[in-house]
Amino acid sequence: MVDGIYNQSYRLPNFLVETIDTPLPVPVYFMRSVGSTAAVFFWESFISDLANRAGIDQYTYRRNMLSHDPLALRVLDVVAAAAHWTTPPAPGHARGISYNCYVGRGGRFKTYVAQVVELAPDGDRLVLKRVFCAVDPGLVINPNTLTAQIEGGIGFALTTALHSRITFANGVVEQSNFDSYPLLAIDEMPEIVPLILPSDRPPQGFGEVVLAPVAPAIAQALLQATGRRIDVMPLPADAFRR
């Protein structure tokens, strides 16, 4: 439930996480990325708010708050450099940056991930054009499979971020098939730029790690482009209106 929050990386001298079990009227269970998709959407959006409140660039703010953690800084710096973060985006375009250290299997592995998403204008809408994704998963045995997980994981996260809305009426789920519960289709798949960092650490986990940072990075870019601050998933379609 609070994956990625209780074990978050930012240097916060006063930090307490408490959870309360909320009884839900419907059974819920794990999905790919476990709790991190929901928790990191909140957490990274909160960090984005703090940066905006402080009037500091999103990359610089995260860098300052992670200066004690060289592996975190490394993924953040690599993704920012690849995306030319310090060069402003073209007019009408917008970017968002996000970070997460995925702590998996009860602390037995740590994989560092940083992403930059690029939104571009397309008619009266903004569309997701490209995602840069820097990862430090320890020693990589098979870079081809790892790259496939970066591509597919981001696509999976986009289905959750953009489409997976479940609603209820009279105690029944209203969605029943892909017409009412769409999956991401090929025309919505952005270009992916994988950035795999060399590491001496033993191999860490990877199947779920790239998902969580996607939605908060898009929300941050939308806020920058449209002034609308989105704090629900799936991100509403009209949030992408220009």
Partner: protein, 154 residues
């Protein structure tokens, strides 16, 4: 129940089924051609794509009574230069992840390359838009189709 004769992958196959049985279930349950997959049953996902007289159709939504004399090709029976180019490109790019959608993806890719020698990205979006992939292998599907088009001299 009726005896229905279908022309599948170049051979006549007779089976006892209701005429309204979707072709998908005739293929999978009666003929054990399980390369063709069930995803949604309502023509939304493309996992069940086969060719009838060379045209891609969603076999989940086609009753066997409507196939008539149409020549059916399933993933098990694909052949020809487009099929070979797509198979090679799929292997070289390591496209599949879980693999579930891939029979349908490959059928649609072959149909696309038969219709358009050198598809653009937009052409790929249009032709492949009905083939969903939960693993989101779309980056490699796109790249493999471009590779196959190049191999075919497109």
């Amino acid at each position: 129940m009726a005896t229905v004769t279908l022309r599948i992958n170049g051979a006549n196959r007779s089976l006892e089924v209701d005429g309204d049985t979707p072709l998908l279930w005739a293929l999978r349950d009666h003929l054990k051609l399980t390369g063709t997959k069930f995803g949604c049953g309502e023509a939304y996902c493309g996992a069940c794509t086969v060719f009838v007289d060379g045209n891609p159709v969603r076999s989940c939504s086609l009753p066997v009574s409507q196939v008539g004399n149409g020549a059916i090709t399933t993933i098990e029976g694909i052949s020809g230069p487009e099929a070979a180019a797509v198979q090679q490109a799929w292997i070289a790019r390591d496209v599949p992840q879980c693999g579930y959608c891939q029979s349908g993806q490959i059928m649609s890719a072959i149909a696309l390359l038969k219709a358009i020698r050198k598809p653009t990205d937009r052409g790929i979006d249009l032709a492949m838009g009905g083939n969903l992939c939960r693993c989101a292998t779309y980056v490699r599907i796109r790249a493999a189709i471009h590779d196959a088009a190049r191999a075919l001299g497109g």
